[in-house]
């Protein structure tokens, strides 16, 4: 269990799922900004309290595995809608961190992730 706590960086484990999730939620967010948001999420996961981080990393492994098979992301989307405790918390954590980052960093982002010019 210890090896899941600190030494393994979160980005390789959760990065691909976080990226897909953000692409689905915010399709017009520029890829470079999406990458920054995913990096931010991974950094925050790296600093989670031990037990929470363990849970997130386990779920991260499961979801990364799902993404490796054709149609896996669709399965993952169905899975997170089931009333399964903690499983639904995983995408919620990722989206919470990413959305907070996106709108704090670029407040003039639209609901689809597009940037609009700031108005006076």
């Amino acid at each position: 269990m210890q090896w899941l706590m600190r030494p393994v960086p979160a980005l390789p484990i959760i990065g691909s799922f976080a990226d897909r999730l953000l692409l689905a939620d915010l399709p017009d967010l520029p890829p470079s900004d999406r990458r920054l948001a995913v990096d931010f999420v991974a950094h925050r996961v790296d600093n989670l309290p031990s037990f929470t981080r363990f849970g997130v990393m386990v779920l991260g492994f499961v979801f990364r595995g799902l993404l490796a098979v054709p149609g896996g992301f669709g399965v993952a989307k169905v899975l997170v809608k089931l009333p399964l405790p903690l499983v639904a918390e995983y995408p919620r954590l990722i989206r919470s961190l990413a959305f907070a980052y996106v709108w704090e960093t670029w407040p003039n982002t639209t609901a689809t992730g597009a940037k609009v010019a700031a108005t006076a």
């Binding site: 706590m5 600093n47 031990s50 929470t52 919470s96 959305f99 907070a100 996106v102 609901a111």
Partner: protein
């Protein structure tokens, strides 16, 4: 001031672990009495103004785990802990509520707390209020704050401005008469400088991993320094003031069990975002009005509402709420907080640095959250909100009273984003060993020289911001320690 780099070996008469409302006040009282005091703090000293309040940068630098901490349960409850010099006083709303006298009397009776006279505590509260400049806003209130007043007045609900520990420089007020210009009188501005002026030393980036105990006495602490190296601190007495999560966790890691960490109490809150016709958002401050018509069971207030936090408030029902995000300047976030009958636990697990925190809401808590969110939404409509976005999965947009019934029918606590900022009661004080972790003055039951002096001691969640209660109790206990011949016993 005597801020020092933590070193591998340090010693003091009194070691104080943590620099928040409990630790800073304890340090000031003991240092001014001439004791050799060493304060250790896991985080850094962050000057006011160095970070934007309620920003992600602040969370990185002043919160534990970047502000992403959660008590697991159904639903899980997000909470935050300060992790910097000054602790939670550096990052909270700064709203001040002195402890209600009847609550203090109830604590005394139910937990058999000796020499716990409410009048004495309230006299200490008078001192604290002078020390930290508790005052109301001399200028006008922010628009999000006025929303609470306006909505409550329309409904005939009791409400008022809550004073804050702030100083308001006249020069700034003249140019910008808003509450945001206040200078927070947190621990880094008040009790910590006072303690250091009296000779206390402060070592930053020093985590106490455990106390080395033997037959109920502790003589040293094992530490981890900022560079990852290990250290040791020797002392005669130790005050554990790490807050309601870290204090019981440290005691448990030190092999001290008893009634430690079993009765975590919080004020669970649910939120909504309210949209108005005109711009009102204040990204870097919170409203000073609160609605207390249904207190102590239920209270309403305003939350930080920068664009990132508005997005978070809309997240649970993003599919239908998302288009509101471009109107964030017209949106502010509000909360309904309850006094919970549920309880949580803090458990240190072998091999893990951080404790496992759990919390269970009761059926009554869930119903109170439901009715609280409904009443808060009603208040927003009365205040002129055009759209109300409750923060739970499956929530409808509320635009009129008819929508309120739909909203309350759809609400379940398990679908909601429940959070809290007030954590207490994990080492309750009192003489009943079966329900108290520490005695009437904070000494851990079964231990000779280990004291707790922070929010952990409060027997229950007070129903109001607990900082004033924490400070009054901590000062009382520190003085008692001196009266009892502390460090010479």
């Amino acid at each position: 001031m005597s801020m020092q780099r933590a070193t591998a070996t340090m010693d003091a008469d009194v070691l104080i672990v943590g620099t928040g409302a409990g630790g800073a006040t304890t340090a000031a009282i003991l240092a001014e009495a001439g004791l050799d005091v060493l304060l250790v703090e896991e985080g850094d000293w962050v000057e006011q103004g160095a970070v934007v309040p309620f920003s992600l940068d602040q969370m990185d630098r002043q919160y534990r785990s970047g502000g992403v901490t959660v008590a697991l349960g159904m639903p899980s409850i997000a909470y935050t802990e300060g992790c910097c010099a000054g602790g939670g006083t550096e990052v909270n709303s700064g709203l001040y509520w002195r402890p209600p006298g009847e609550l203090l009397a109830r604590w005394r009776e139910q937990f058999d707390i000796s020499d716990f006279d409410p009048d004495d505590l309230l006299a200490i509260a008078d001192e604290v209020e002078a020390d930290i400049s508790v005052s109301t806003v001399p200028g006008g209130h922010t628009s999000p704050s006025e929303v609470l007043r306006r909505g409550a007045d329309a409904l005939g609900w009791r409400n008022g401005e809550i004073p804050r520990w702030m100083k308001y420089p006249p020069s700034k007020l003249a140019s910008e008469p808003r509450s945001a210009v206040g200078e927070r009188q947190s621990m880094t501005r008040t009790y910590l400088p006072r303690a250091m002026k009296a000779g206390a030393r402060l070592a930053l980036r020093c985590r106490v991993d455990r106390l080395v105990t033997n037959a109920g006495s502790a003589r040293s602490a094992v530490t981890t320094l900022g560079d990852g190296s290990r250290g040791e601190i020797t002392f005669r007495d130790v005050f554990v003031c790490g807050g309601a999560i870290q204090s019981p966790a440290l005691l448990q890691r030190s092999g001290i069990r008893g009634h430690i960490g079993r009765t975590l109490a919080v004020h669970p809150t649910v939120k909504l975002a309210a949209r108005f016709a005109d711009a009102l958002n204040v990204p870097d401050d919170v409203p000073v009005h609160q609605v207390k018509e249904f207190a102590p069971h239920l209270s309403f207030g305003g939350s930080a509402s920068n664009p990132g936090l508005v997005a978070l408030a809309l997240l649970d029902q993003w599919a239908t709420f998302k288009h509101a995000i471009t109107q964030w300047r017209n949106i502010s976030v509000y909360y309904a907080a309850i006094t919970s009958e549920g309880r949580g636990r803090v458990r240190s697990l072998p091999g893990l640095k951080d404790p496992l925190v759990t919390y269970g809401l009761t059926h009554r808590d869930r119903e109170l959250l439901r009715s609280g969110l409904g009443r808060l939404a009603l208040l927003m409509l009365e205040a002129g909100a055009t759209d109300v976005y409750p923060s739970f999965k499956g929530a409808p947009v509320v635009r009129n009273r008819r929508d309120l019934a739909t909203m309350q029918g759809a609400f379940t606590a398990a679908r909601a984003s429940v959070m809290t900022v007030h954590l207490c009661s994990t080492v309750p004080m009192g003489e009943i060993e079966g329900k108290c972790g520490a005695d009437s003055f904070g000494r851990v039951h079964g231990c000779r020289n280990i004291y707790v002096n922070d929010a952990s001691l409060l027997p229950t969640a007070p129903g109001v911001n607990p900082q004033a209660s924490v400070m009054a109790v901590a000062i009382r206990n520190a003085r008692r320690f001196l009266d009892a011949g502390g460090c010479r016993g």
